[in-house]
C-alpha cells in the first residue's frame, strides 16, 4: 500500500483522502519512508521537516474526522524548492552564503498552500541560487536523476523534478528563470509549468532575475499541474508585479480537448541544434495532437537565438544586482577574521558563493557597468521588446507554440561540468518564454533510444494557461490510452 500511495497523483490522493480510504498520516508517513530510503542516493532534499509534517497530517485527519469538508490539497505532501522562503525552516538556496538563515516569513505561495492544508515535507535541492541547469552546483551536493542515477536531473529545480519523479513528493513548487522548471521536468519525465509572468506572486522567492522569475508547479501529470496552478495563481497586493486576474475553473477546461487548437511549430527549434531522437519524439507528439483535431503549421521565430543570448545578459545583470544583499552583514555566512567592512564583503562573498554564482555576478556587473551598458544590457532590453513582438505576431494566427523542451535528453553527471557554455545552451528552447513573460509547460512525450524521457514544450499567449492545459491534457490522455493498448 505504501508504495502505491507515493505513486498516486495529487487528484487520486485527494479523492482517497476525502473518502477516508487513506489517512493524511499514512500518506505523509509513506512519503517520509520513501525519502529515508532514497534521498541518500538522489540528494533531492536539503531539509526534511518530518516532525512538522506528521503533526500537520494529524491535524488534517483530526479535522476530517470531525466531518469538515477540507480543501483539495489537504493532507497532500509537497516539497518546495529551497529558494522559496518558509517561516521557521532554513532556506538555503543551496548556497553556503545562506548558512543559518531562517526566514521570519512564508512566501505568498507557501501561505496559499498552508491555507489549502497541504503538508510540507521539506526543502528541495537546486543549483546554487538557481543558477545552473544540471543541479551539480549545489553546496549540498548534486541531485541525481531517478530515471538513471548516473545522469543529471536537469536544473535548477532538479531536486523538485527528481523528488516528484521518484515519489518523494506528491508535487513540488519550483522556480523558472530561463527554463529551470521545464528543462529538469523534461529530463526527469514529469510535468512542469512556468506560468505567465505575474500570475503567481514572487514574494518570498529569493530572486535570481526578478523580471524573468516565476514560481510554478512540478507534478506527475497534467491534471495535477492545473490543480496546483489554480491553487497558487492568486493576486498578491504585496508583489507589485503580481497581476489581478481570475482564471476560469481549469478542471472543466481540461476536458475540452485539442480539437480546433491552432499550434505553430517554430522551425528554428526543429533544426540541427536539437538532437535527432528528441526531434523524432516531439514530432510524433505533434502528429498525435493533429490526430486529436489540432491544426498544425510551421512558424518562424527568427529572434529565438538572440532572445536566448539576451536572456542570459538580463538574468546575469539582474542576478548581480539581487546578489548584492548577500554581504555577510545581516544574515547568512560571514567570513572570519575580517579587519574592515571591505574585508567582510570581500571574504564573505568570495567564500560564501560558488564559482558559477561568482561568474554570473562578475558578468552581470560588466553588463551594467558604465562602459558596457549600451552594448549588453541596453541591447538585450531591445531584443526583449522584439521577441515579444515576434510572439505577438505568431499568436495572431496561432493558439499555441509547440517545441522540444530541451535539445538533448539528460546527460551524465560531470559530463558538461567544465563547459558552462554548453550547459547554457540547454536553455535554448525555454528562455524566450521568460523573456516574453509567456506561460510554457513541459510534459513528457516518450523517450529516446536509451529510454530517457523526452519533453515537449507548449507555449501560450499571456494568461492562456487554460489553452495549454487543454492541449497537454488531451495529449496525455491519448498517449496513456495508446500505451495501455500497447501493453
Amino acid at each position: 500500500m505504501k508504495e502505491e500511495i507515493t505513486a498516486k497523483t495529487v487528484s487520486q490522493l485527494s479523492r482517497l483522502l476525502a473518502k477516508k480510504e487513506v489517512s493524511a498520516v499514512e500518506t505523509v508517513s509513506a512519503y517520509i519512508q520513501k525519502i529515508q530510503d532514497l534521498n541518500g542516493s538522489l540528494g533531492a532534499y536539503i531539509t526534511v521537516t518530518e516532525k512538522a509534517a506528521l503533526k500537520q497530517a494529524e491535524e488534517v485527519d483530526r479535522l476530517r474526522a470531525k466531518g469538515e469538508s477540507l480543501p483539495l490539497l489537504a493532507g497532500i505532501p509537497v516539497g518546495l524548492k529551497d529558494n522559496i522562503c518558509t517561516k521557521g525552516t532554513p532556506t538555503t538556496c543551496a548556497s553556503r552564503m545562506l548558512e543559518g538563515f531562517v526566514p521570519p516569513y512564508n512566501a505568498f505561495v507557501v501561505d496559499l498552500l498552508e491555507s489549502q492544508m497541504a503538508v510540507m515535507l521539506g526543502k528541495l535541492n537546486m543549483d546554487e541560487f538557481a543558477m545552473g541547469s544540471s543541479n551539480e552546483t549545489s553546496y549540498f551536493g548534486p541531485v541525481r536523476n531517478p530515471v538513471d542515477t548516473e545522469r543529471v536531473p536537469g536544473g535548477s529545480s532538479g531536486g523538485c523534478t527528481a523528488a516528484v519523479a521518484a515519489g518523494l513528493a506528491a508535487f513540488a513548487l519550483g522556480s523558472d528563470t530561463a527554463g529551470s522548471i521545464r528543462q529538469p521536468a523534461a529530463f526527469c519525465g514529469v510535468v512542469g509549468l512556468k506560468p505567465t509572468y505575474g500570475a503567481v506572486s514572487r514574494r518570498g522567492l529569493v530572486a535570481l532575475a526578478s523580471s524573468l522569475d516565476q514560481i510554478g508547479p512540478i507534478t506527475k501529470d497534467v491534471g495535477d499541474s492545473a490543480l496546483v496552478f489554480e491553487a497558487i495563481a492568486k493576486h498578491d497586493e504585496q508583489d507589485a508585479t503580481s497581476v489581478r486576474r481570475e482564471y476560469p475553473p481549469l478542471a472543466k477546461i481540461l476536458e475540452k480537448g485539442a480539437e480546433g487548437l491552432r499550434i505553430g511549430l517554430p522551425k528554428e527549434l526543429f533544426s540541427d541544434i536539437i538532437s535527432g531522437e528528441v526531434k523524432t519524439a516531439v514530432k510524433a507528439a505533434a502528429e498525435r495532437l493533429e490526430a486529436l483535431g489540432a491544426k498544425l503549421d510551421e512558424v518562424s521565430l527568427p529572434l529565438l537565438k538572440a532572445a536566448h543570448s539576451a536572456c542570459f545578459v538580463i538574468s546575469a545583470a539582474e542576478a548581480s544586482s539581487n546578489m548584492g544583499k548577500f554581504d555577510g552583514i545581516k544574515y547568512g555566512y560571514r567570513a572570519k577574521d575580517c579587519g574592515s567592512i571591505d574585508e567582510i564583503y570581500k571574504f564573505s562573498r568570495s567564500q560564501g558563493f560558488g564559482r558559477g554564482v561568482k561568474r554570473r555576478i562578475l558578468l552581470g556587473n560588466l553588463f551594467l557597468s558604465a562602459g558596457h551598458y549600451q552594448k549588453y544590457y541596453s541591447n538585450a532590453l531591445k531584443i526583449r521588446t522584439l521577441i515579444r513582438r515576434d510572439f505577438e505576431n505568431v499568436f495572431e494566427k496561432f493558439d499555441l507554440i509547440l517545441t522540444p523542451t530541451t535539445p538533448t535528453t539528460a546527460y551524465k553527471l560531470g559530463e558538461k561540468r567544465g563547459d558552462p557554455l554548453e550547459i547554457y545552451m540547454g536553455d535554448i528552447c525555454t528562455a524566450a518564454a521568460n523573456m516574453a513573460g509567456l506561460p510554457a509547460l513541459s510534459l513528457p512525450c516518450g523517450a529516446d533510444l536509451s529510454g530517457l524521457p523526452v519533453g515537449m514544450q507548449l507555449i501560450g499567449n499571456a494568461f492562456d494557461e487554460p489553452l495549454i492545459y487543454r492541449a497537454a491534457y488531451a495529449y496525455e490522455q491519448s498517449a496513456k490510452t495508446a500505451r495501455r493498448k500497447d501493453d
Binding site: 516569513y105 532575475a209 508583489d239 507589485a240 544586482s321 554581504d327 558604465a370
Partner: protein, 495 residues
C-alpha cells in the same frame, strides 16, 4: 590621484584678496533632499516617525531580507508630484524607478531605489528675490527615492545599523547651475523650503535632516562661458552653513587656480567647526552605480485625472501671495517675500491686514517687532490678529508712535489683550500738540548748548541726540516727526 590634489585642511584662504576674488564668479547648482511627510515608508508599511528606538520601525523589506518585495506608497508619489507642480515642473506621464548600486552597511540591498533617466518631474523653476531684483533659477529635475539607514559608531565596540530611516521617502530636487552667489543660494533654498512647506508634503526640518542640501560649485573668470571643474559639497543641513561652505569653497578654488594648480572633480564635506571643506573622494575613484530599471516595480503612470486632482489640492503658493500683497496691500517685494516664507506667517498677516487700513504697518510689525520675539523655528504668534491690526490702525492714524507700537507688541506677546484699552489706561497716546512739544524742545536746546553747536557744525548724530532728549521728556510718547520739525525750526531761528 592628481598631484595637485591637496590634503584636507591644508589651505588657509587668507591669501586671496578681495581684488582677486572679484575677477571670478561662482557657478552653483544645488541638490536638495526633502523627506516626505508620509505616514508610512515608500516601499512598505513601516511608520516614518522620527526618533524611535533603533530598528523598531523596520521589516523584511527595510532590512533587505531575501524574497522581500517593495510596493510603491502612492502617497509618496502624490507628494512628489505636488513638489513638481509647485515648482513649475513638467510631470512625466510615465516614469521608472531604478536601482543605484553601491555597497555600504546602511544600504541592506546594496542598492538604493531611485530614478535615473526618466525622472518624475523636469524643467521647472523658482523665482527668487535678491538685492538686485527678481531672478529665475531653473529646476532640472525632481525624482523620488528611498533614504538609507543609519550607522551608529560606538567607540571601541563597533558599528551598529539602525534601519528605521531606511525606506523613508525622499525627493531629490536638482537645480540648474544658475546660482551665482551665496546670497542667491540662500534665497533659493529659502524659497524652495517655503514652497515645499506650503504644499504640506514635508516639515522641512533641517535639524532632523528632512531638508538637506548638496552644493555643486565651480568657478570661472568673469565673462567666461565654459564651466570650471566642480566640487560637490555633501549634506549641509543649515542655510548658514551653505553660505559659509560656498564662501570658503569659492575662495579655495580661486586660490588654487591663481596658484596655477589643476582642480580635480571631487566630493567634499563641510566641517562647521572649522568652516572649511575637505576632500572625500575624487572622480577617479567614484562609484559606478550600475543603474538598472528596478524589475520589482512596474512603470509608474501618471494620468491627467490624477494631475488635475493633485493640482486642485495645492494651496496658493508664496509667489501668488507675494503678488497679491504687493498689488493689494502695497508691500515692497522684499517685505512680501519675507512675509510669505512661512505659510503660518502669511496666513496671520492676511487675517490682520484685512482688519486695518494700514497693512504695510502690519507687515513691518511682523517682520521686526514680532520676528524679534520669536524663537528661531517658531511660527505661531500669540497675539490675536485683530489686536495687531488695532495697533497698526492706531499707529497709522498717528494716535501712537512706533516706539509705543513696539512696546504694545511686547506687552501683548506676554499677555494678549485689547491694545486700545491699554493705550487708554496707561495714557500712551502720542503727543502731537505743538505747544507742548515746543516747550520741551526749548528746554532741551537750553540745557544742551554743546550738542546744538555740534549739530550746527555738521554732526548729524547730534541732532538725533536732541530728538531723543525731547522724546524722553514726553515719556517716549512724542510724535518724532513733529519733534524734528520743531527742533530744526527753533535752532535755525535762534541762529
Amino acid at each position: 590621484m592628481s598631484r595637485a590634489q591637496r590634503l584636507p585642511g591644508e589651505r588657509t584662504i587668507k591669501m586671496v584678496s578681495q581684488n582677486v576674488l572679484q575677477k571670478y564668479e561662482m557657478v552653483i547648482g544645488l541638490e536638495v533632499h526633502v523627506e516626505l511627510k508620509t505616514r508610512t515608508k515608500i516601499f512598505c508599511s513601516c511608520p516614518t516617525d522620527f526618533g524611535a528606538e533603533p530598528n523598531t520601525q523596520c521589516c523584511p523589506i527595510c532590512a533587505g531580507l531575501p524574497g522581500a518585495l517593495p510596493v510603491l506608497n502612492r502617497q509618496a508619489l502624490y507628494y512628489a508630484i505636488k513638489a513638481g507642480l509647485a515648482t513649475n515642473c513638467k510631470i512625466a506621464s510615465t516614469t521608472k524607478q531604478h536601482r543605484k548600486h553601491y555597497f555600504y552597511p546602511d544600504l541592506p540591498n546594496a542598492y538604493q531605489i531611485s530614478q535615473y533617466d526618466k525622472p518624475l518631474c523636469e524643467n521647472g523653476y523658482l523665482d527668487i528675490e535678491t538685492g538686485k531684483g527678481t531672478k529665475r533659477i531653473g529646476i532640472t529635475r525632481i525624482h523620488i527615492e528611498e533614504d538609507a539607514g543609519k550607522l551608529v559608531h560606538l567607540e571601541g565596540e563597533g558599528t551598529l545599523i539602525d534601519c528605521n530611516r531606511g525606506g523613508v521617502p525622499l525627493i531629490e530636487i536638482v537645480s540648474e547651475p544658475d546660482i551665482r552667489s551665496a546670497e542667491e543660494a540662500k534665497a533659493y533654498l529659502q524659497k524652495l523650503r517655503a514652497v515645499i512647506m506650503y504644499t504640506g508634503i514635508s516639515d522641512c526640518k533641517m535639524n532632523e535632516g528632512s531638508f538637506r542640501c548638496d552644493v555643486n560649485i565651480s568657478v570661472r573668470k568673469k565673462g567666461e562661458k565654459g564651466l570650471g571643474v566642480r566640487a560637490e559639497i555633501k549634506n549641509i543641513n543649515s542655510f548658514l552653513f551653505v553660505v559659509r561652505a560656498i564662501e570658503y569653497e569659492f575662495a579655495r578654488q580661486v586660490e588654487a587656480i591663481e596658484a596655477g594648480e589643476t582642480l580635480v572633480q571631487e566630493t567634499r564635506r563641510f566641517d562647521s567647526a572649522t568652516g572649511k571643506t575637505y576632500s572625500m573622494r575624487t572622480k577617479e575613484n567614484a562609484t559606478d552605480y550600475r543603474y538598472m530599471p528596478n524589475p520589482d516595480l512596474p512603470v509608474i503612470e501618471v494620468t491627467g485625472e490624477l494631475l488635475d486632482r493633485l493640482k486642485s489640492e495645492i494651496p496658493m503658493l508664496p509667489d501668488q501671495r507675494k503678488k497679491k500683497y504687493t498689488e493689494e496691500y502695497g508691500l515692497t517685494p522684499y517685505a512680501a517675500e519675507q512675509i510669505t516664507v512661512q505659510r503660518e506667517t502669511a496666513d496671520y498677516f492676511e487675517k490682520a491686514a484685512a482688519l486695518t487700513d494700514y497693512p504695510v504697518l502690519v507687515a513691518n510689525m511682523i517682520l521686526t517687532d514680532i520676528a524679534r520675539l520669536q524663537q528661531p523655528d517658531q511660527t505661531d504668534i500669540p497675539i490675536l490678529p485683530v489686536h495687531l491690526a488695532a495697533i497698526a490702525q492706531m499707529a497709522g492714524e498717528g494716535r501712537i508712535n512706533s516706539r509705543t507700537g513696539r512696546i504694545l507688541v511686547q506687552e501683548l506677546w506676554e499677555n494678549d489683550t485689547d491694545p486700545e484699552k491699554l493705550v487708554e489706561e496707561k495714557g500712551l497716546e502720542q503727543i502731537s500738540d505743538i505747544n507742548i512739544l515746543s516747550g520741551y524742545a526749548k528746554e532741551v536746546i537750553a540745557e544742551n548748548p554743546k550738542t546744538v553747536s555740534d549739530y550746527l557744525s555738521g554732526k548729524a548724530a547730534a541732532f538725533q541726540a536732541l530728538v531723543g532728549q525731547v522724546m524722553k521728556k514726553t515719556g517716549g510718547r512724542g510724535n518724532p516727526v513733529i519733534i524734528q520739525e520743531i527742533l530744526k525750526r527753533l535752532i535755525h531761528k535762534k541762529e
